[in-house]
């Protein structure tokens, strides 16, 4: 099938790639751009491991076609740290042992960042519902929720 030339901005950098019209944005990020931080856990929009921001909107990149990213801004887990400085969420995830296998972590970090951008002072329940689209099979979510609440508190304090 003929491929489509796509230009986009990923984590602030201009990129271009050739997408088969059947390829998802996740496929393009991983296979064409070498950004393998976003994971495929299901391919059907049910696990959130592929979460990215598309023009500031949280999406499952497995449900977006690569060609739809034409002209868009995409942010992935690889873009969360600024230079050598981790985002507070990344730091708190390590400190709180909020990951075991770590496979859900990229998607959860992106989703948690989107949540805190929207709601800087969430309750525990708001964090739980905000992350309900992200499956973690290892942790039981306890330490993830604590890490997000702690990061939110730190980020509020820093402002």
């Amino acid at each position: 099938m003929t491929k489509t030339h796509v230009t986009a901005t990923v984590n602030g950098d201009p990129v271009e790639f050739l997408a088969d019209p059947r390829e998802t944005l996740l496929d393009c990020l991983r296979d064409h751009l070498g950004l393998t931080g976003s994971k495929e856990g299901c391919g059907t929009g049910d696990c959130g491991a592929c979460s990215v921001l598309l023009d500031d909107v949280l999406v499952c990149s497995c449900l977006v076609l690569g060609v739809e990213a034409q002209g868009a801004r995409v942010e992935t887990v690889e873009g969360m740290a600024q230079g050598g400085t981790l985002h507070p969420l990344q730091r708190k995830f390590i400190e709180h042992a909020a990951l075991q296998c770590g496979f859900c972590t990229p998607g959860i970090l992106v989703a948690a960042k989107a949540l805190l951008d929207r709601n800087p002072d969430p309750t525990e329940s708001e964090v739980r519902f905000g992350l309900a689209g992200n499956l973690c099979r290892c942790t039981g979510y306890d330490k993830i929720v604590r890490a997000v609440l702690d990061a939110a508190a730190e980020m509020r304090g820093a402002q």
Partner: protein, 749 residues
């Protein structure tokens, strides 16, 4: 190796950042599907859409005619003549004459892109003759059930038995009749659990390369690279040592990644495509349809109890299916775990393994134990209620302890069930008031833990830092716990130790990270390796000082003269010894190889409070408490993580997760949308208490904590729902429709 229980440690018990944390929060960590290789092809698998069907013809000509398709592999490409479990593995990798379950692989293709490979797979024509099938365990054991593999039964099955009964296990001790006669209350009930999947978020993925010379390499997400090596070698008829297997970071396993499914296909395709590497990644539906879930079970339990709550006798009969292969169900483990928590004077176990047209079961966290606990701990709770006895007190009265002859045979060494029950009793959650439609459930659980083949090597660097090579992949922070133990032993900073999970070519054989053994067995071998290195370093210092090696002690990361020589020379640090090692006798290292003994069982007690919505039948978990004996918590945060993760999986199993087969024998819910695992908004915080009754068989007292935690939630939830509603559910999952149906049935009298 007796352990001083009052020991205090410099590092053990602290919570440093895990060494692989940075890689994992930045997206840098490389998992199974994250690598590419020059000249790489992509594979796709053709799977049976039928539960049971004879394969009449496979025609790959249209697939091969597609541009970019480089190889098609069928069973004819694999060697014949395998026996036993090797044959099972090969048959499960690719069906031979008969497809045995919905999703059973029948062919595989390799092409220049993922999409092309998928297109080609659709062009492979397979002609089937559909055969009668059976997927339910109770139906599969009937004498008139369709025979799945005639002649497969082993010697334990009497002739004239039902056609799918393939293995029978029978053991026990004591006088059962006298035991039941001595009871004031005897009750017998039947319980059922559906199959559930490990549900790791990372689907199986590998990149394999195999040349015509029989030499190959594989990158794969696995719990055990040597198991992959041995199994692939057996299935393909190549030599194990010629295959180098490198474990990727692993996105969860829970037992499901201790074996092979499609991995040999990547190698077979590569061999047929002239040695080009082939990447094979499963879709979620393939994971659910064709990788090992756990078995399903139908269980009879009979218990005798005195009015005071002493168990006098127990009899369990478990029927389990684990797919179409003998030995795949965890029925043996289930029997052994059933009454392992208690001192029972008379006990009898009978296990019946049945074949069914379902995927080959794989290990799932404490295989068999959760089902057994659901049956036994539920009935125990029913009897406590009937006799109006406190469930924790009854468990304390009957609790196994050091010297108890375990229900499954051996005599327990030091174990911590009594301490765990006592810690539960005094926890504040137990005295919180409950409202309407709310109930509290208690249950205990057990897992043996495992030692296993283990090989570790450790080397001192020129600057005194230390590298440790281990063979057990890190699934939940074990690099951190191993680094803590090595640093503690050597008296150096945690940061100065780097723990590497290495490929099969770099170390002797290791069993996988299974059986809760990584921190126990690799830890034990790593500490032994560190001790060897210490002995060498003391000898180097003694030689430099011209004194007897016995007159040198190791303290705080340095060799120190002792006894008569104390104070005569300044301490020689590990960095100084490392810097000089080239001229003092060469590299300094330690290594240890063992089939690790000294395993200590881990017991846990869970307490859950639920609220059941009478309108919808939905159960909300209000609070959850896990109390478990860790022996010693090396890195307490990752111990808590195991407790919480096990509880969450058990809650899913109890309340929602199940394999649903249609009348056509096809899996109805192979996606996460319908296979409903707990999400963050389904759960509360999960409170944990780490009990530490050190295991005398480990230098720091470790028992292993990974598996016990999935065992008590199933009965704990059933007991809590019974307390909240007065209804006893004896079949899992206790999903809203089932609970609602039970509530309505009662209302309608």
């Amino acid at each position: 190796m007796a352990k001083d229980e009052t020991a205090t440690f410099r590092l053990i018990g602290t919570r440093p950042d895990r060494p692989d944390g940075l890689d994992k929060v930045t997206g840098r960590a490389r998992y199974g599907a994250d690598v590419q290789a020059p000249g790489m092809l992509h594979g796709a698998v053709v799977r049976s859409p039928h539960a049971h069907a004879r394969i009449l013809r496979i025609d790959a000509s249209k697939a091969l005619a597609l541009d970019g398709v480089k190889a098609v592999v069928t069973r004819a490409d694999l060697p014949s003549g395998l026996t036993g479990e090797d044959w099972n593995l090969q048959e499960n990798t690719l069906a031979g004459e008969v497809a045995l379950y919905d999703g059973h692989a029948v062919a595989a293709v390799a092409a220049t892109s993922k999409l092309r490979a998928q297109d080609a797979a659709r062009l492979v024509e397979v002609e089937y003759e559909i055969l009668p099938h059976v997927t339910d365990v109770d139906e599969a054991i009937r004498p008139d059930a369709p025979a799945i593999r005639p002649g497969a039964a082993d010697h334990s099955v009497p002739t004239g038995s039902p056609p799918n009964l393939v293995r029978q296990i029978d053991f026990g001790h004591g006088d059962l009749e006298a035991g039941f006669a001595a009871a004031d209350l005897v009750r017998e009930q039947t319980y059922r659990t559906e199959a559930t999947h490990q549900g790791y978020i990372e689907p199986q993925a590998c990149l394999g390369q195999l040349g015509a010379d029989g030499k190959g390499e594989m990158w794969v997400c696995t719990q055990g690279q040597w198991y992959i090596r041995r199994m692939c070698a057996a299935v393909l008829g190549i030599e194990a040592a010629q295959l180098r297997v490198t474990p990727s970071e692993i996105g969860g396993g829970f037992g499901g990644k201790t074996t092979i499914f499609m991995e040999p296909l990547a190698l077979a395709l590569s061999r047929k495509a002239g040695g080009r590497p082939v990447k094979l990644v499963m879709s979620r539906a393939e994971v659910m349809r064709a990788t090992g879930p756990t078995g399903s079970a139908s269980m009879d339990v009979k218990l005798g109890m005195t009015a005071e709550g002493m168990i006098t006798a127990a009899k369990v009969t478990f029927r389990m299916q684990g797919g179409p292969f003998v030995g795949a169900s965890p029925v043996g483990e289930a029997l052994s775990c059933a009454l392992a928590c208690y001192t029972v004077p008379a006990v009898h176990h009978l296990g019946l393994e049945v074949l069914a047209n379902r995927p080959k079961a794989a290990a799932y966290r404490a295989p068999g134990a959760p089902m057994a606990a659901f049956a036994v701990e539920s009935l125990l709770d029913e009897m406590c209620r009937e006799l109006q006895l406190d469930p924790i007190e009854v468990r304390l009265k009957n609790a196994a302890h050091e010297g108890t002859k375990a229900s499954y045979g051996p005599t327990y060494k030091r174990i911590g069930l009594v301490e765990t029950l006592q810690a539960t009793k005094t926890h504040p959650n137990l005295s919180l008031p409950l409202g309407p439609n709310q109930g509290r459930g208690v249950a205990a659980g057990f897992w043996f833990n495992h030692g296993g083949e283990t090989s570790v090597s450790l080397a001192i660097g020129e600057d005194g830092t230390v590298q440790v090579s281990i063979g057990t992949p890190d699934i939940g922070g074990s690099r951190a716990s191993l680094a803590l133990m090595v640093a503690e032993t050597l008296g150096i900073p945690y940061e100065n130790v780097r723990v590497n999970v290495v490929e099969t070519g770099a170390l002797g054989v290791n069993e996988p990270t299974h059986g809760s053994r990584a921190t126990f067995a690799s830890g034990k071998a790593a500490v032994e390796s560190a001790r060897q290195a210490i002995a060498q370093m003391c000898r180097r210092a003694a030689a430099a000082w011209g004194i007897d090696p016995d007159a040198v002690e190791w303290r705080d990361g340095a060799a120190v003269p002792s006894g008569d020589n104390a104070g005569k020379f300044p301490p020689m640090t590990i960095a100084e010894i490392g810097a000089a090692m080239g001229s003092t006798g060469g590299p300094i290292s330690g290594h240890h190889e063992t089939t690790a003994g000294g395993v200590g069982a881990s017991f846990g007690v869970h307490v859950v409070d639920v609220e059941v919505d009478p309108e919808t039948g939905r159960t909300t978990v209000l609070r959850y408490l896990v109390v478990q004996d860790a022996g010693r918590a090396i890195h307490p945060a990752y111990v808590e993580g195991q407790y919480q993760g096990g509880a969450a999986q058990g809650i899913g199993w109890a309340l929602n997760e199940e394999y649903v087969y249609g009348a056509d024998g096809r899996l109805q819910n192979p996606l996460f949308l319908d296979y409903r695992m707990p999400v963050a908004s389904d759960l509360p915080m999960i409170d944990t208490v780490i009990v530490e009754v050190p295991n005398p068989g480990h230098p720091y007292g470790v028992r292993g904590v990974g598996e016990t935690g999935i065992t008590p939630p199933l009965p704990a939830l059933a007991n809590a729902i019974a307390a909240a509603t007065g209804l006893r559910l004896r079949s899992l999952p206790m999903s809203p429709p089932k609970v609602l149906a039970a509530l309505r049935a009662r209302a309608n009298g």
